[in-house]
């Protein structure tokens, strides 16, 4: 029997209250893990970017387009080994318009060359290249929509109005996590030939393979310099920098997530502190008896802090126990499959788990400091007088 052991047993005295408090700590730990994993996954997306790819877009904005001939000119530049171009299509499934997935017009052969991590069978590849209305579907989207090779699908265009019919030529998977597995890729020509003359032959962005990843900065500058005197200037950056610039658009969301984390932790602290304070009030007479038989104020403080520590440990362990499968097998798997470009790897990181567990313990202890001080400063005679 030890002081800590007694403190641990004390929390079992009001099982409902203890269970609810442990649940609060566990849920807070779980959500902390979730939120930190969102931030980690988002901010680390650039780390998963290919080092041998650079992206070129309009200097002013993503939404402004470039002439298709820029892609052809970039392909001729030293150090560039392959080029593909693409347009954001913004298609939706008319049966479920709230279900978001990426729809991008591209040149099939050059896409598969620039993105070797996109894998499909040779037969499906050739079928796609050979069919102007052919579409290559990410495996997670195909699974979700129950689409299969040979199906005919219709998408409603939001940027390019009308109903657009496609034949599913193939289903791709990826060998890395930096490519989204829920995208519909289709022929740029199919889009281009349907556009009015003034909108033809324009692309949203150009992605180039380079022979030397270490030269990405130099080649990017050279690309931009090439078009500097033209009507439409470009900005070129590594894929990692592109991801980071994209992330910058969401900085407010990241800040909001940080704020939510802090608020949640503060609420958890108040709830644990209140539970401990109630326990102290109920056990005033027992603390008086302990003091009477020789225990010191520091022992009483240890009792109180010990109880808080046990709540923190149990809540933290439960939170981690729930967090790992919830994030790694549930939310994480979904995000990786459906939003792979933003969340290329959505897994609980050891440092986040340690931080969450440490926070559960630390917060439980901090929450108990005031009740512990109060319990330790109780006058023995006064405490015993409350016996009955």
């Amino acid at each position: 029997m030890t002081l800590f052991g007694i403190a641990a047993r004390n929390i079992g005295r009001n099982k409902l209250r203890t269970s609810l408090t442990v649940a609060v700590v566990a849920i807070s730990t779980l959500f902390f893990i979730m939120l930190r994993t969102v931030v980690w996954s988002w901010t680390s997306a650039s780390e998963f970017a290919a080092k041998d790819r650079i992206a070129t877009r309009h200097k002013v904005s993503f939404v402004m387009q470039l002439p298709k001939r820029y892609a052809e000119e970039i392909a001729q530049m030293p150090g560039v080994t392959a080029v593909c171009y693409a347009n954001w299509f913004g298609g939706k499934d008319p049966k479920d318009e709230n279900d978001f997935f990426a729809t991008i017009a591209t040149d099939p052969a050059s896409l598969l060359k620039v993105y070797p991590e996109i894998k499909t069978s040779e037969a499906e590849k050739q079928a796609w290249i050979g069919d102007r209305r052919g579409a290559m579907i990410g495996d997670s989207l195909a699974k979700k929509k129950h689409w299969k090779v040979g199906d005919k699908i219709t998408l409603a265009g939001s940027i390019f109005p009308g109903n657009w019919d496609f034949n599913i030529s193939g289903i791709y998977t990826t060998t890395t996590t930096n490519v989204d597995r829920a995208t519909v890729w289709f022929h740029w020509d199919y889009l281009n030939e349907s556009l009015p003359e003034r909108s033809k032959d324009k692309v949203g962005w150009i992605v180039s393979n380079i022979s030397d990843p270490g030269a990405s900065g130099r080649i990017s500058k050279a690309v931009d310099a090439k078009f500097d005197e033209r009507d439409l200037q470009t900005i070129t950056m590594s894929e990692a920098a592109l991801n980071q610039s994209f992330l910058g658009m969401f900085s407010a969301i990241l800040k909001a997530i940080d704020l939510v984390s802090v608020v949640m932790i503060a609420i958890m602290g108040l709830i644990v502190g209140n539970t401990i304070a109630m326990g102290v009030r109920e056990r005033t007479n027992e603390y008086g008896v302990l003091r009477a038989i020789g225990f010191l104020p520091k022992h009483i403080a240890q009792f109180v802090l010990g109880e808080a520590l046990v709540i923190g440990i149990v809540g933290g362990v439960v939170g981690l126990g729930l967090g790992y499968p919830f994030v790694n097998l549930g939310v994480g798997r979904f995000l990786e499959e459906n939003m792979g470009q933003m969340f290329p790897q959505f897994r609980v990181q050891p440092q986040i788990a340690v931080m969450a567990f440490g926070l559960a313990l630390g917060l439980a202890i901090v929450s108990a400091i005031l009740p512990a001080r109060k319990a330790a400063s109780l006058q023995v005679v006064e405490s015993l007088r409350r016996v009955g």
Partner: protein
């Protein structure tokens, strides 16, 4: 300690006063009290509510300090002692028996008895052995693993007494030890306290309202308005 009839004084109060403040009003609960108790005696403190008997018991037990005067218990002058030193004094010299038992509900009988020994450097096995001995001494050798809620009031009070004697203190202070018990259980407890006094030589100071309980004591002090009544 002064000698008298072969026994020395274990408790000695000289001009002890104790006052409390209620707002701006000063309450003199004990007034210039002179009192001695012999080692190995069984003494009762009686008196009406508010007479100061519980305050006196708290002073003797080292739970509180007098406002004035000298208070010597088991060779230690308590009036000038720090809170920490008094805690050590209590752990070494005083056993407590309360009216409402005050056992920890999450601990078994033997764990409750073992509790004061956590403050000693005794190994766990020795602590457990001592607690067993104390419980057997109070007749609860067959209830060691029971929780307080599984015991009767009389049995709970026996556990309290076992907890009080497990550290082998010189003095046992009992505050209305039979106040919550029926007559038969009260007699058992008083018999037990009597045995501790006669067989183990413990000095017992007992506050009680019960004349039958007071009759068991060898000396009975009556207090009235903070002073010993003649």
């Amino acid at each position: 300690m002064s000698e008298n009839n072969g026994k020395s004084d274990i408790i000695s109060l000289s001009k002890v006063g104790k006052s409390f403040w209620r707002g701006k009003e000063r309450l003199d609960v004990l007034k210039d009290l002179d009192l001695t108790m012999k080692e190995g005696s069984f003494e009762a403190l009686m008196g009406p509510s508010g007479s100061g008997k519980s305050t006196l018991l708290n002073l003797i037990a080292g739970l509180d300090v007098p406002t004035s005067g000298s208070l010597k218990v088991a060779g230690s002058e308590l009036s000038q002692m720090s809170e920490g030193d008094r805690a050590g004094f209590r752990a070494a010299n005083i056993g407590f028996v309360f009216q409402t038992y005050n056992l920890m509900p999450v601990l078994t009988a033997i764990e409750n008895v073992e509790l004061p020994l956590l403050l000693t450097s005794l190994p766990a096995a020795d602590r457990r052995k001592r607690a067993e001995t104390a419980l057997k001494l109070v007749g609860l050798g067959d209830r060691m693993g029971h929780y307080p809620r599984q015991l009767s009031g009389g049995q709970e009070q026996r556990v309290t007494i076992a907890r009080a004697i497990v550290t082998d203190p010189k003095i046992i202070v009992a505050d209305e030890p039979t106040g919550d018990l029926d007559r038969d259980s009260a007699n058992d407890i008083l018999n037990l306290l009597g045995r501790l006094n006669t067989e183990l030589g413990k000095t017992i100071v007992m506050v009680t309202h019960d004349p039958a309980a007071a009759e068991r004591a060898t000396v009975c002090h009556r207090l009235d308005k903070g002073a010993l009544a003649l």
